[in-house]
Symmetry: D3
Subunit: 332 residues, 6 copies
């Protein structure tokens, strides 16, 4: 199996029970997650050797992050600890036509405040096959914009493929800032999860335009011929409880599309995209053919919606079984 380094922020998530508002709840469920950490867990579940690099508070919650990652088999040789706080976010679970609401309390976290790289990059990327990072990291600060580029450069120098999930978050930065970062970062990227928002930032198209995914990937490809693979999910939101989800994968000038899933009802949508990315990377790293890769990734993404917490917790066998199942029987 491959060796992968995922790097980014990981946070404590505190969720109220469905049907209870955050301003009234007397109990919160605790999970730990973050875009890159969720991808790390997926890949470790599939048997890869995964390092998760980050920085967490040197308190009970930093320890909890470590336990969380270890429990899924993710290595933490590059998980730094220091004085400060762990970013936190709160989830008011939606249902039916009521949207899920997230309240962030992530400012000033020990990760967000990092202003120079605290890893020795030759160690970090030694023998690594892939470096995975997301667009949330550069969105945390101007320092992180630069540090992210530095990390990509170091990874490339070390002979590592760079995987990037753009993951635009409007509460963290502007579209313009995101666009500028993408222009600088994408020349280092090999595998790119990019969606509609990235088209807006990079191709100068209008927000409301319906863009065919093939045209969009073609245009992106022209701008960044270094990118080997593009991928994204197409999600149709019927309600908080019912979504359709389909995966797209662009590789060697061809677009592959997965089965279209109706997910009904959704237990917990958070981390669905990360499960998809984990599935794509697994397909690429184990040399599945493109169609198999996109089917696997879409199945992984869908499965994530049926469990609580940010992480896909299914093995390769379980994802395949789901991918090939026709219906939902009791398996005795």
């Amino acid at each position: 199996m491959a060796r992968i380094v995922c790097l980014g922020e990981i946070m404590m998530r505190l969720s109220a029970e469905v049907g209870t508002r955050l301003n009234q709840t007397s109990q919160l469920d605790v999970f730990y997650g973050g875009g890159e950490a969720n991808v790390a867990v997926s890949l470790a579940n599939y048997g890869h050797h995964v390092q998760y690099a980050s920085k967490v508070a040197d308190n009970a919650f930093g320890q909890a992050v470590e336990r969380h990652l270890h429990s899924s088999g993710v290595a933490t040789d590059f998980l730094l600890k220091g004085p400060g706080r762990l970013g936190t976010y709160y989830v008011e679970q939606g249902i039916g036509q009521k949207a899920t609401k997230v309240v962030y309390d992530r400012q000033g976290s020990v990760f967000a405040l990092m202003n120079e790289l605290e890893w020795e990059s030759t160690e970090l990327f030694a023998e690594a096959d892939v470096f995975h990072v997301s667009g949330i990291t550069p969105a945390l600060s101007e320092d992180w914009c630069q540090l992210t580029i530095q990390l990509m450069q170091a990874a490339k120098s070390a002979g590592c493929k760079v995987s990037f999930d753009s993951n635009y978050r409007q509460t963290l930065w502007t579209q313009q800032a995101a666009g500028e970062f993408l222009q600088k970062a994408l020349p280092y990227v090999d595998y790119c999860s990019a969606g509609h928002m990235d088209a807006i930032h990079l191709l100068g198209i209008e927000e409301k335009t319906e863009v065919d995914v093939t045209n969009y990937y073609q245009a992106m490809q022209k701008l960044f011929p270094n990118i080997e693979v593009f991928f994204s999910t197409k999600r149709t939101v019927h309600s908080t409880s019912v979504n359709e989800l389909q995966g797209n994968l662009w590789i060697k000038d061809q677009c592959y599309t997965s089965k279209n899933y109706v997910i009904d009802p959704i237990v917990d949508r958070i981390g669905g995209g990360d499960a998809f990315t984990g599935g794509i990377l697994h397909g690429l790293l184990t040399e599945m053919n493109p169609q198999e890769t996109i089917e696997f990734a879409a199945a992984a993404a869908v499965l994530k919606h049926f469990i609580k917490g940010d992480c896909n917790q299914y093995s390769e066998d379980e994802v395949r079984q789901f991918m090939n199942s026709e219906s939902a029987k009791i398996s005795r």
Copy 2:
């Protein structure tokens, strides 16, 4: 904002978890609610100055009612306490095709046993804009039939608008008794929530007749020209988990109809009608136009279905956001 007096019984509600029968449950969730109290909470959420007048047991549960109302900002200057019991009801939550079952244990409550008004009505209605009461109150006893009329008269004398939610409950009184009360009470009413059952009682139509809501309101209007506003929800019950809901508002000889919502899945339907009434009164009191009023009220009613407990717990902003949203995304 306006000053509103809501008056009626408030009870303790004890609910078993979905999937567990009342005769087997080892745990019950505790809520407090009642038709007028739920309207009071909605209006306080929207920023009005609301007094809730009632009488509760002078024990831990009377205190709990007070805490419940205070937590939502409802004033309790007219919440009396006395020896006796608080009415109680038990809910076995339905789901899918299985109906929700309610077991009442409300007889002999300190409120139901009241046989003369224990408030000084000049104080009660001083500076009040609206007095809200429902048809559950007169259904409690013959005394309460008379006291309800007295309260309406006193409210009118004090220059207060009278809001009345007919809310027919067949376990409390007969259709005939309800009809007789309505004949006496409606001449004092300004805002009237009235549905199909009231048409039966007042217009002498058959129970199974499909009556167009416009014709029905026109006929009611002729009988009671003093009523400025009629409103009601049209609920189509596909199952306990899936309902359609649409609001109707009759004002100045015209009928306004809201968007038709599919609520899927329902978390807790109890109090949906009260949330609707709260929304209508808020629209009337803040001079929204009729279409905005009915859309606001319908949105408020629908939102209630996605949270546990009897009360709508959304602010005006949240109701408006829902009213204008197209789909259910995670709002990060």
Copy 3:
């Protein structure tokens, strides 16, 4: 009412909460159930005098089984206790497109290890009207294959009707072994719950063949003219959360079919078939007409899906009310 003897294994069921995987759960819900025990509970709910014969561990869990049965009014004069273990099974609840997963830990249970009958069969069947057993029992061991036949013979000698639910479980035995047992056992059977799998075993038809239920019952009837009644459910699995269910009853050369129910959403499917069998036996024992019988049984089966645990917990009145209801209102 009738006197019925149900005999089979009963196990402890430990279920994780929906959305939580068995390999990560920190809490399990405890239920007790087994095919014949669930039928026993249904019939006791309907007012019959039911004996449940089995053997359980002489420890806290054997006591728990006894309490479980007693709480539903099932008599346990023939519930033996001995040193050993109670069979256990673990349930990872599915939802939406994610199947429910069962992990069995039933080997070596005190019941499965029984190698000679430990009841005096004249006592066991004294005054009994019906003896009910399922195909799970002979699947436990070769000894149990023989003991099951012995029990059927003894029941017939005692003038008892024999009810048999084939209930094929592929994790317990092969199709061939099941087929051989059926050939020996069915000549003693009066009431037979048999489905598609039994057709495969007995009629030599292909697994993928779509067989019309009427043809299938006719063919079965020819082979075993002693069988008075065949019955089965037709379940269409749209997802773990949504199934359609319809009952079929073959009696005196005619096939009766119930209303087709959409069950949406399912709370807990386990025991649905047993609730159906309980309904059929109740119809036969109280001399309902065939159409009423199949409607009653189908309604009972559907209701089971809306409560947690293996047992149907509805009285005859409640099943009838559901059978006749048009929609799911709050019944206040």
Copy 4:
């Protein structure tokens, strides 16, 4: 084993978790219990044939009472059901120096409203060895004062021993009324649980007097020579969490005293006295010697304090094991 008829009210108990006040709790634990019902459960646990006679609401909670009794093997041939309510009480669990607080909501229950005997007394006491009733029953109403005497008379006529637990409750009646009832009832009593309060009522002694239990029993014995056995617990309350408990048994002019137990910490004290009475009756009915009887009863009473709910849930073997144990080891 013996045949015993216990008769009295049984209620639903709703308890908040330790550390949470009733006026703030959002969840209540459900138990069912009553003085005589708890004695019934104890005796059924010890293997006796016990009938529990009472009247409960014909709703889900009446069914719950039935399930509760059945689960412990208590027969309910004389458990009547009728329209009305089940008495309820609420418990705010104390701890340390904070007392436990009980809020009763038992007025107007279907049992309390009974004004003539609804059982055929020849059936009720047919073949019964003991009839057990407590002083809570006559305290419910003047009707029940008379009905209790009638029941005692009928029991005596049927050749039954009468067991009576005085169980004075100041919230239900005055000391004078209790004293008058005792004067009328005690002539029919064979086994009498009587404490300090009864001495006050009957012997005209001062409430604050320290009375030696032997003197007290002697004086009682002189007044009612028909009483064969007196028994009571001596409880020293160090705090809600720590009590000392010792049992006294007066039989054939001699007083037997059990080991003195320190109970630390107490989980749930309610029902401790009923567990003691159950132990005494078991000793008497199985012809233990007096010292063994009082030791068994005291051990049973103490054990009850370590489990939640009103009922002693230990078998004779478990009580004996506890009675003979020296310390609390893990029994593996």
Copy 5:
């Protein structure tokens, strides 16, 4: 009753269940509290008109704070809301010899970042009898050191008594900084809760010296003759579960000491000191005599230890009942 203004930070508290470590818990209980807010709740429970002035995040948790205060009847006319975060702290409950551990995450809260007074002080103190603040507030920042003095000055100008609870927290500031602040602040103080640490800061005594409380108060009094009242608890920690607690009150050159309580076992110690301060202020404001005041305050402090959460939730009657009770019986 009196009018009191309490001002300070209020935080969300997230507690793991006893026996579960923060780094492993999957669930947290939610409470809201802060030194001055807890005093506010106590005083509102006793019937005073209390305003709580603070600043909270304009999100779900700011709303939750508001609901929390309202539910206890505390007015929030001066509770500001603004963008930012609510301070948070996490509690790992100790038990026995294992200490309770608190992890703070309060930096950068919207309250701590306040750098000028955002209330109009003439409005804030209009008609107020007492202004209560604690030493936690000046410890938050240098700005708050100055703002606290300004508030005290404004309160004095408005004719308000100033109550100050020194409440030294070593994680927030140094002893020296605390000492300097005290020198500046105490000249404005009328009622002062001061303990051993304050003696160290102000009187220059050694940390390990055993100081008699009377001598200590006398010395303090000489330095600050303006202070009318000193009070403090003497707590002897036998373990996390068992403490002794006694109250001291210095008034008019005399020291009054309460009963010494053994608290065993403690449910939740947090807020015990605030409950004591609330009791003292209530005594002073209702003109209890000094001995009654200190007994009331000590009883209130002890009661707090038996409930979860930061706030004393007992009425004056309940505190008095506890103060006068001899033992812990079930009060039926």
Copy 6:
């Protein structure tokens, strides 16, 4: 830090809540533990490189064991998986004078059925400093008696110290069988946890004899001069909730005794001995002096009693802090 191999069975533990009997509980808490696994977790917490060798079921519960070990940083290179079951045990938590009761369901587990070594012993012990095993393993079967000796021999050959915890369990084997095994095994042992029972087995002393620990160790030492270190805890059981615990360590002909702890109240005693062994091994491996070693081990053992589950979950720093603390304050 050192490299340690721990080998033994690990089981699923299912615990009912305190105050609820196993035969009535509707929920069970899930933990994973076993003597050697608990030692492994302790040592990994202290920073050692620990391998846990065992065999578990290749199902969800085998995965759960893996997650459990990984979360504490224990390596599982030698954790085999195969078809079969994971041993299970059930705990009814005692409290006060009520003992904790354990119901085992461990027979036929995939580990217990192992009949030849499935590890390559040169790999297993490569570079290992210590091999730790307990007397539970040979008690599982005659095969395991022999395999345990083989493992000890292989470890010695590999230059590994052998640590052995005798841990006699009377439900698994007889005293005679245990004694015979000890005679064969102890010649290979370097570090030996041995208590009173071992003295009985080996020294032929009477079960009731009070043996001074020093004399006992001296006698053991004479028999097995190869053993460098003996250690054991002395536990005085006042009740299930209160124990005293003291550690003894015999090294180089001298006996070192720790502080005597009163543990009050105990949350969960299971695993206390394993935490002690973990502490001793840590002291030996990090070259603490003997007194420090025994104090550290005793403190670790005591701390374990305050958390739920089988494992000590404290770091070296936390154990040292506890070891040096005088009392239990809130550490803010």
